[in-house]
């Protein structure tokens, strides 16, 4: 069944590039849209895909556990939002088709990363995602986009070299690159210097890919310079799948609970939460503020993972899912505001809620959720993180998490006040609400966020409890 998540998108990619190009270009949007819905269907109703389970055409060792299911859902939801945003913002049909093709390639890469059970295969799919993402960032071919893509390439290449070197060292010790073989080898040679060195290099590589502080140099530029629709995808899910998900998967399935690894994770997570939150306060660029906010929120995920407990793991995954939804929503809103006001400087904005009521409301809900205000989804995941830290006797980290949430609330309210509240500034008088095509992704994301917020107990029992084995 797992192979379907790679083979069907690949088939769709080939299909929409077949002649006659004119017809296929028109069909591309609907084909990609159907694919996203199919992925959601396959995850929520696995029996749908059982007909293909016996397919012997490809020998692919893939696994779909609850952790992978959560990621597949996030991937489908955010890619759907980026697809709809791209359709509304990219008017040229040719460019729009190119964007959808690239989106599809990133989508295949991310599905691959999520499903593999082998560290080298994970590396290969990391590269599929990274190469496609470089092109998405540089898609508009302006100076900022090319600079952002260049920085991403350089940082990503350094991370790639580190990850590949670590894989080579682990292969030397384990003789195989499957998660099971590596786990057994690491257990057998616990005090090996080679293994300790490989783990630290591997973690550093993934920290760069995740954009955690102090490895975040590429992230604010990449997020702020990418085209609007690409930034939704990049900030919403790509960075998490190429950096955070491998961290969770490898720490959970390969390295297992280890005091030193957990300490490194918690220190890096807490550092990112605090420093990025304070860095966000001083930003005047809408997307850069959201970028620093992303670094801070990813810090929460890593901090929770560092608890080493089942609850910590479940909380990390839940915040991963929530963050992918509300941060995509904020980036959709940033792209909408930018398209309408022709600026990203929040000091030039003001009173836009009067002109763009739907965007204003969805943005306010997302800001409150990021800040952890009850009963929104961000509150539940942050609550789980703090409970997990408290149970693991990490009181200092729990207090840091709570205090940083107040800083988050402060800069999110500042953002909301400067952009949407107050009287309409002179330069914004001509601004009007976006059309329904651009509002659609915001509405879909806000509905997902509210459903998760209100049906939290169901979500907890269906997905989170089985992940942690709580």
């Amino acid at each position: 069944m797992g192979s379907l998540f790679i083979l069907i998108p690949l088939f769709v990619f080939m299909l929409i590039n077949l002649p006659p190009r004119m017809v296929m270009r028109k069909l591309a949007f609907w084909a990609v849209l159907a694919l996203m819905l199919l992925q959601v269907g396959f995850v929520l109703f696995p029996s749908l895909s059982s007909f293909a389970a016996a397919s012997g055409l490809f020998r692919m060792d893939l696994a779909i556990d609850k952790l992978a299911q959560m990621c597949l859902l996030s991937i489908a939801a955010v890619t759907l939002a980026a697809l709809l945003t791209g359709r509304a913002l990219i008017t040229d049909e040719n460019q729009s088709c190119n964007f959808m093709n690239l989106l599809l390639l990133v989508f295949i890469g991310m599905n691959g990363i999520t499903l593999v059970k082998d560290i080298f295969s994970m590396y290969v799919f990391l590269e599929v995602t990274a190469v496609s993402s470089f092109i998405l960032i540089a898609f508009s071919k302006d100076k900022d986009g090319l600079e952002g893509a260049f920085k991403y390439i350089i940082f990503s290449s350094i991370a790639t070299v580190m990850i590949l070197s670590a894989i080579a060292l682990l292969l030397l010790v384990a003789g195989d690159t499957s998660f099971a073989a590596l786990r057994a080898a690491i257990k057998l040679h616990q005090n090996s210097h080679v293994i300790m060195f490989a783990i630290s290099v591997f973690l550093s590589g993934l920290f760069i890919k995740s954009g955690l502080m102090p490895f975040h140099g590429w992230l604010p530029d990449a997020y702020s310079s990418a085209p609007g629709a690409a930034s939704v995808h990049l900030a919403g899910i790509v960075t998490k799948i190429v950096g955070v998900y491998p961290l969770i998967r490898i720490v959970h399935s390969v390295f297992s609970a280890n005091v030193s690894t957990n300490n490194v994770l918690m220190i890096t997570g807490a550092f990112s939460i605090v420093v990025a939150a304070f860095a966000a306060i001083n930003q005047s660029d809408f997307r850069r503020m959201l970028a620093y906010s992303s670094i801070s929120q990813v810090g929460y995920i890593i901090l929770s993972l560092g608890c080493g407990s089942a609850l910590g793991l479940a909380a990390a995954i839940f915040h991963f899912f929530n963050h992918s939804i509300f941060k995509s929503l904020l980036f959709v809103n940033a792209a909408t505001v930018e398209a309408k006001s022709q600026t990203r400087d929040i000091n030039e904005m003001g009173g836009l809620a009067q002109r763009m009521p739907v965007t204003g409301i969805t943005s306010a809900l997302a800001c409150l959720s990021v800040s952890g205000i009850p009963p929104l989804s961000g509150f539940w995941s942050k609550l789980l993180i703090i409970v997990a830290l408290w149970q693991a006797n990490q009181y200092a980290y729990a207090i840091i998490a709570v205090m940083a949430s107040l800083v988050t609330l402060s800069y999110m309210l500042t953002l909301q006040r400067k952009v949407f509240f107050g009287s309409v500034s002179n330069s914004m008088k001509g601004v009007s609400e976006a059309d329904w095509k651009l509002l659609m992704p915001s509405i879909i994301l806000v509905v997902i966020m509210l459903v998760v917020s209100l049906l939290f107990p169901l979500f907890l029992n269906t997905f989170l409890v089985p992940i942690g084995g709580i």
Binding site: L102, L105, D118, F120, S121, E127, K141, A174, G175, S192
Partner: protein, 164 residues
């Protein structure tokens, strides 16, 4: 470690430094090809002929050709610009050879021991079976990396083609 290996490693590091530090893009591309060629020799000596063949054909052959093709499309710098650029480059990278030499001395004198009991390496009897059977998913992934790269060239350089 034999003298030949030390010479090969030294040549490889020197060529890699030249690649990074030269001010001419064309020379950097040639430097990359030469670095890869020396690495190929090392791979053959270490008993990895298949990896050596890939290194030679892709990294020493295909990639420099792509680089040189793109460089031929760019406008060269004026003499004064080039001089300024060279000074800026040196001010940024002068520390690099020193770091390499210090690292080499440290590694040579450290007597690092691999404390893990390394299993014997079992080369697959049939490379085709290994690549298309055991590592089928990786092959598919690599095909997709190439596809993404090709698509990127199409998306980013199509307008340039029109202009030319």
């Amino acid at each position: 470690m034999g003298l030949t290996n030390i010479l090969i490693l030294t040549a490889m590091v020197a060529l890699a430094l030249f690649t990074v530090m030269t001010r001419s893009l064309l020379r950097a591309a040639i430097g990359l090809a030469l670095t890869s060629a020396v690495l190929t020799v090392m791979m053959f000596r270490l008993g990895a002929p298949l990896a050596g063949v890939f290194e030679l054909s892709v990294c020493a052959g295909l990639i420099p050709v792509i680089f040189i093709t793109v460089i031929s499309m760019t406008k060269p710098m004026k003499k004064e610009e080039a001089k300024e650029f060279a000074i800026e480059r040196w001010s940024r990278f002068w520390i690099l050879p020193i770091i390499v030499v210090i690292a080499a001395i440290l590694l040579f004198t450290a007597h690092i021991k691999f404390d893990a009991k390394l299993p014997p390496v079992h080369a697959e009897s049939d490379v085709r079976d290994m690549m298309w059977g055991a590592r089928q998913l990786d092959m598919l992934g690599q095909v997709m990396v190439l596809m993404a790269g090709a698509y990127g060239i199409l998306v980013l350089f199509k307008e340039m083609k029109k202009r030319w």
